[in-house]
């Protein structure tokens, strides 16, 4: 029987990683794993050099290339000289400081939050930091994973620690079971819609309950990924047999007897059954519908059968008005049937094998609607290879989707994949912010991979349950 001592996973991992309480009152926290990419790190390495500092634990940092890489071809130098400069800076910095780097020529390259778990670098009971807000993804493993800024990247490089404030913990319990055609993406959009984009401020979110327990690791990653969109710096799921099964045999996961010891440790760090929480929220899984966003933040979302809300019905009426202004949509109209121009399946939220399978199931034997640009971008080189082995690439290309190389792609505007003008994009990514996909007038509708595939073949938002 698990030892009961009333502590959450968050408490346990926080304590085991506490180095000291600093004069400011903050906690100095050891960071077990540091992941870096080309965007937020160049100035951090410059700061190290300015201060004449070394990298304290170079073997605990891993680097890859994801944000700026073109996904239609991988030839170097990149046509975009800024992308090339950032890439060369990362190559230089990692080689100078002795950091493992998975570049475009590596079969381990991919979106930083996809490759950490895939390689087994991300493990339960660890602290993890990355200069990227979606670092919360790694919480799916029972990891305390923090998105940080560049000055903090410098601190982790120099000391393998961060000055942090302890968060409160909110338990989010999803009861029952999800209906057919409802996915992890719908669950997290529903959570953010209910609790608000700022609702998680000051909290770590612990996701639990029968719906989460039943989810595979990829689905749990989708949920944890968007914790930050709900304002929670950290989101996590307690590790269980599903977690251990996923990790077994991966490159950086201990083998044999060491694995057994690891599993014992990982089990011990899960929240106690009598753990105390600062807040508890219950939701009913069977009430969740396929969910899509209608506005300019991920909390502005509705179930597929609903009509677009009137600003007065929203928690932030002014924000809702601004959203309608940008989207060019009218309150009171059904979201079903809204036309789209672009379909994007990818990003650290939804670019893993099960996401691609769910989208391929819908795309199979159908055609992308005329005039629609549809992209499928696997989250890593390894996922791309696995998907091709299953023939998913053929299903997509035969249906008229473009099948791309791994990268962040159209999730954000830092590589050639962008929206143009006022295009509307059905997207599996995590942010519908104004300008996020590269055009100041562009519009983004967030939804699950199956929903995006269904929108792509129909040319408009449909209920995937009627198009399976």
């Amino acid at each position: 029987m698990a030892k009961s001592s009333g502590r959450t996973l968050y408490d346990k991992v926080w304590e085991s990683h506490t180095v000291d309480v600093l004069p400011t009152g903050q906690t100095q926290l050891f960071i077990g794993l540091h992941l870096i990419h080309e965007i937020t790190t160049a100035p951090a390495f410059d700061m190290l050099r300015e201060k004449n500092l070394q990298v304290g634990f170079p073997e605990r940092t891993f680097a890859t290339l994801d944000h700026v890489v073109p996904t239609d071809m991988r030839a170097r130098p990149f046509l975009d000289s800024q992308a090339e400069d950032l890439t060369q800076a990362l190559e230089k910095n990692t080689s100078q400081f002795g950091i493992q780097f998975y570049g475009l020529d590596s079969d381990r390259q991919g979106i930083v939050h996809v490759i950490g778990p895939q390689l087994g670098l991300t493990q339960p009971g660890m602290t993890l930091a990355c200069g990227d807000s979606h670092t919360s993804t790694h919480g799916a493993f029972g990891t305390l994973a923090f998105g940080i800024g560049t000055s903090q990247v410098r601190d982790v490089l120099a000391t393998q620690t961060l000055a942090m404030d302890k968060l409160k913990v909110r338990r989010i319990n999803i009861r029952g079971a999800l209906p057919e055609g409802v996915y992890a993406k719908d669950v997290i959009l529903s959570i953010i819609r209910r609790l608000g984009v700022g609702g998680g401020k000051g909290f770590a979110y612990e996701y639990c309950g029968p719906v989460v327990e039943k989810m595979n690791m990829e689905e749990r990653m989708t949920i944890c990924n968007m914790s930050i969109e709900g304002g929670a710096l950290v989101g996590y799921v307690n590790p269980d047999a599903t977690t251990f099964e996923f990790l077994k045999g991966r490159e950086f996961v201990p083998k044999g007897k060491d694995f057994d010891r690891a599993v014992a440790y990982w089990s011990s760090i899960a929240s106690d059954s009598d753990a105390r929480y600062d807040d508890v929220v219950d939701m009913e899984g069977s009430e969740i519908e396929p969910t899509v966003t209608w506005g300019i933040n991920p909390g502005q979302a509705v179930g597929i059968s609903e009509k677009l809300p009137y600003p007065e019905q929203c928690s932030d009426p002014e924000g809702a008005k601004r959203a309608y202004e940008h989207m060019g949509w009218k309150a009171g109209t059904p979201v079903l049937g809204m036309p789209i121009n672009v379909a994007f399946i990818g990003s650290c939220t939804n670019s893993r094998l099960s996401d691609l399978r769910a989208a391929a199931k819908i795309a199979k034997g159908r055609r992308v609607h005329p005039g629609i640009r549809a992209l499928v971008v696997p989250g890593s080189a390894a996922i791309k290879a696995l998907a091709e082995k299953e023939g998913l690439d053929r299903i997509f290309t035969e249906a008229g989707f473009q099948w791309r190389e791994a990268g962040c792609s159209m999730c954000l505007a830092m590589n050639p994949d962008k929206l143009a003008g006022r295009e509307i994009c059905a997207s599996t990514s995590n942010r519908n912010f104004i300008g996020r996909q590269g055009s100041p007038g562009g519009r983004t509708i967030l939804m699950s991979p199956a929903m995006v595939a269904a929108a792509a073949v129909n040319g408009k938002i449909v209920d995937v349950r009627e198009h399976a």
Binding site: Q28, G149, F259
Partner: protein, 204 residues
């Protein structure tokens, strides 16, 4: 360990940017993150809200000459949500913003600000509305922020603000740039690391 500049008082004129949930993509569009240093970030804050696709200025407080030289920014709820990009506070700081007063701030953004020595302090909705109106009516109004007393003074008036104690301590003691403080504990860091089972691959 050595302390940086102690940040206790910030004073100057104000500028207000209204709206809840202003995300860091709006504060600094992603394309500017492709620059390899922060050096030019001061040219870009709110770029796509300030300029149209031809580069012609639009109506925006950051374009309005009457707010030129402002050093205190007033905002509403959940300011700085979204991406962790430190480019956002860098852009504001290099534009001339040295303190931000709002209803609430997103976690990573506020953390980045304190690491750069920018106080992010909170007041009530009613107070922020009054402060914003004041700034818009008379941009020449001067504000004096005192982190020690947790007050913002202007004219004859004064409001009390909130700031997490740890942030306030870091700023007023000059340890907001945390590296030296963290480095001074390196022996302890090594001890904690050695006790974590994953650091040795769970070998028995």
């Amino acid at each position: 360990m050595s302390a940086d500049v102690k940040i206790v008082k910030v004073s100057g004129t104000g500028i207000a940017v209204r709206g809840n949930d202003i995300d860091t993509d709006r504060i600094i569009p992603a394309r500017y993150l492709k620059e390899i240093t922060f050096a030019r970030m001061g040219e870009y804050p709110f770029y796509d809200e300030r300029f149209d696709s031809e580069g012609k200025p639009k109506t925006h407080p950051f374009n309005n000459p009457k707010y030129r030289g402002a050093s205190i920014l007033f905002v509403n709820k959940n300011f700085g949500c979204g991406s962790s990009r430190e480019h956002a506070p860098q852009a504001l700081f290099r534009f001339g913003i040295h303190a931000i007063v709002g209803e609430s701030f997103a976690a990573i953004f506020a953390g980045n600000c304190v690491m750069m020595g920018i106080p992010t302090v909170t007041v009530t909705s009613a107070e922020i509305e009054e402060l914003m109106k004041l700034v818009e009516l008379d941009p020449q109004n001067r504000f004096a922020m005192d982190l020690d007393a947790k007050t913002l003074s202007y004219g004859e008036r004064q409001v009390r603000f909130d700031i997490p104690d740890t942030y306030r301590n870091a700023l007023i003691t000059g340890f907001w740039d945390s590296t030296s403080m963290l480095l001074s504990n390196l022996d302890k860091v090594k001890k904690i690391a050695a006790g974590l089972p994953y650091m040795t691959g769970f070998r028995g």
